[in-house]
Amino acid sequence: MLGANCLRANSWVCGAYLSSREGQIIHFTIQHLELSGLSIGLGLVFAIPLSLLALSRRWLRASVLSLLGVIYTIPSLALFVLLQPWLGVTHATPVVVALVAYSQLLLVRNFLVGLDEVPAEVIDAARGMGYGPLALLWRVRLPLALPAIFAGLRVTTVSTIALLTVGGVINQGGLGSLLFQGFQDNFHAQVLVASVLIVVLGILADVVVVGLQWLATPWQRAGQA
């Protein structure tokens, strides 16, 4: 059975590829999920203190956002490569660090936009009823900023999963590596399967984040109901 005909014909759509390379496909898919999940997770972990820092001073806000904007402008491949000497070639640290850096602009800016959009009268009422500054942030301003934060998270999640693919050209890109290897071996089925999987992962992740938002913001549901 080794080498079914559609494999030999190198056709784009070839079921035999899935069965013959199942292990490899699963391996790279898991690696893709791990790397992008890690990047998004770390992105959130860094975005919160960064946002609070940006909140603390007026001028800080502008310079934090423009710094993140500058990073965002640097083409992904260039940043991956620039980080390699410091973070090592043989593992994915440079790619993860770069993806985390890219995610900051969207996460921090949406965090701030979300906090800005909290209605003034709600804050005034809360302070008037005896909410201290911390309680005000934690129990009033953050929950109300959630819709915008989730919007940023949605975009970041999908674009991180897609951007990881670029790591494939330096053999650190999860499904991106499978895709690029497929190109180098001129293996059509592998190229197509890798590409479709990346897109499917992106869409599934988007659905998950929308689900999380649906759970975390009951009042929005009610508003629309």
Binding site: D124, G128, A135, W219
Partner: protein, 383 residues
């Protein structure tokens, strides 16, 4: 007056070069509804917000129930003071129940007590708990949201309530109803309330006492609505209260027994001839018809009193009447509404007397002269 619930002593608020409030002395007694009124820039909202220290006073002292709260922890202080604002500020991400339970939760009450208190308050402000407890603010109308706002402010049963134009953004009809309900609530709860408004009618209707503030927080006059309307202390107050303050007087002066006239009274069972005789004797063109227990049954005109028969079957129904204690304004509006020459005054069911335009006018002048102690000739009504 040491027993004032809220006392401001020489309270001043300076923003670098402008003075928002200038050495204000104000005392609000327990259970009193004190209205703060004045044009924008008069510092009325600033004054109110200094009481719960949302705005820190530049100098002077603030006493709450006798304690000097000028330098206590503001966060704890605010939990002892109810706070209602025009845009309500309900927490959009919390249900109405959780909104109302906010301060009790901050004070650490246990869940059962909070739940009970929340239900009780929602009923108090006319929102059915079974329907509204789990609703979100977005699902309520403006009026309902404001009721929830008041309920939230009263949740921890604070002795003092600060209200910053709470009904400002609500349509006139609902506002009228909310004001009525708030008066009924205040009647039951006897909270000490500082109520900021720019609407003189609202101040007159709700206030036990009204503080009229001018530019820079200068207290022009602090007195009962009747006094403010009847005898404005300064030109500023007069202008502010408005040229038709006489009309507004009507809303604050109640109908008194001394004001009514006693027209000829006939009994429903009397003969028409007797009625005719009574009217001719008094030179009156009409007479009031009552029954056995002095209950008003109607009236009979001289022109209808010819021939035979009992007064009862000739009497007209009496549309225009007001209860004793109603305001002169209600009496006037009844009179105008039914285009009647006079209005009957009843004490419960019993007929007391009638008011004619003439007697209404003297009643109005009487209420001004007594209060202001001013001789009739110079009474402002003359101008």
């Amino acid at each position: 007056m040491t027993d004032a619930m809220i006392r401001l002593e020489q309270v001043t608020k300076r923003y670098h070069d402008t003075v928002a409030v200038n050495e204000l002395d104000l005392a609000v007694n327990p259970g009193e509804l004190c209205m703060l009124i004045g044009p924008s820039g008069s510092g009325k909202t600033t004054t109110m917000r200094m009481i719960n220290r949302l705005i820190e006073p530049s100098s002077g002292r603030i006493f709450l129930d006798g304690d000097d709260v000028t330098h206590v922890d503001p966060v704890q202080l605010r939990r002892r003071i109810g706070y209602v604002i025009q845009q309500v500020g309900l927490f959009p991400h919390l249900t109405i129940g959780d909104n109302v339970g906010t301060v009790p939760r901050l004070l650490g009450w246990d869940r059962a007590r909070i739940r009970a208190r929340t239900k009780e308050l929602l009923e108090l402000v006319g929102l059915d708990p079974d329907v509204y407890l789990r609703r979100y603010p977005a699902e309520l109308s403006g009026g309902q949201r404001q009721r929830a706002g008041v309920a939230r402010a009263l949740a921890a049963d604070p002795p003092v309530l600060l209200m910053d134009e709470p009904f400002g953004a609500i349509d006139p009809i609902t506002r009228e109803r909310l004001q009525g309900e708030f008066l009924r609530l205040q009647h039951d709860l006897h909270k000490t309330v500082v109520f900021v408004t720019h609407d003189i009618d609202e101040a007159v209707r709700l206030g036990d006492r009204i503080a009229v503030l001018a530019e820079g927080g200068r207290l022009e006059q602090y007195d009962t609505p009747a006094k403010i309307l009847g005898s404005p202390a300064t030109g500023f107050v007069a202008d502010f209260v408005g040229a038709d303050r006489g009309l507004r007087r009507l809303t604050v002066t109640a109908v008194d027994r001394a004001d009514v006239e006693t027209p000829p009274v006939v009994h429903v069972a009397d003969a028409v001839a007797d009625a005719r005789q009574v009217m001719d004797g008094a030179g009156a063109k009409w007479a009031v018809v009552v029954d056995g227990e002095e209950h008003l049954r109607g009236w009979i005109g001289r022109d209808r009193a010819d021939g035979e028969g009992t007064v009862g079957d000739r009497a007209h129904r009496m549309e225009a009447w007001v209860p004793l204690g109603a305001t002169l304004k209600q009496a006037f509006s009844e009179m105008l509404q039914h285009d009647a020459g006079w209005v009957a005054v009843l004490d419960g069911e019993r007929f007391v007397g009638v008011l004619t335009p003439e007697s209404l006018h003297t009643a109005l002048r009487r209420s001004v002269d007594d209060e202001a102690g001013v001789a009739v000739e110079e009474s402002p009504l003359r101008q």
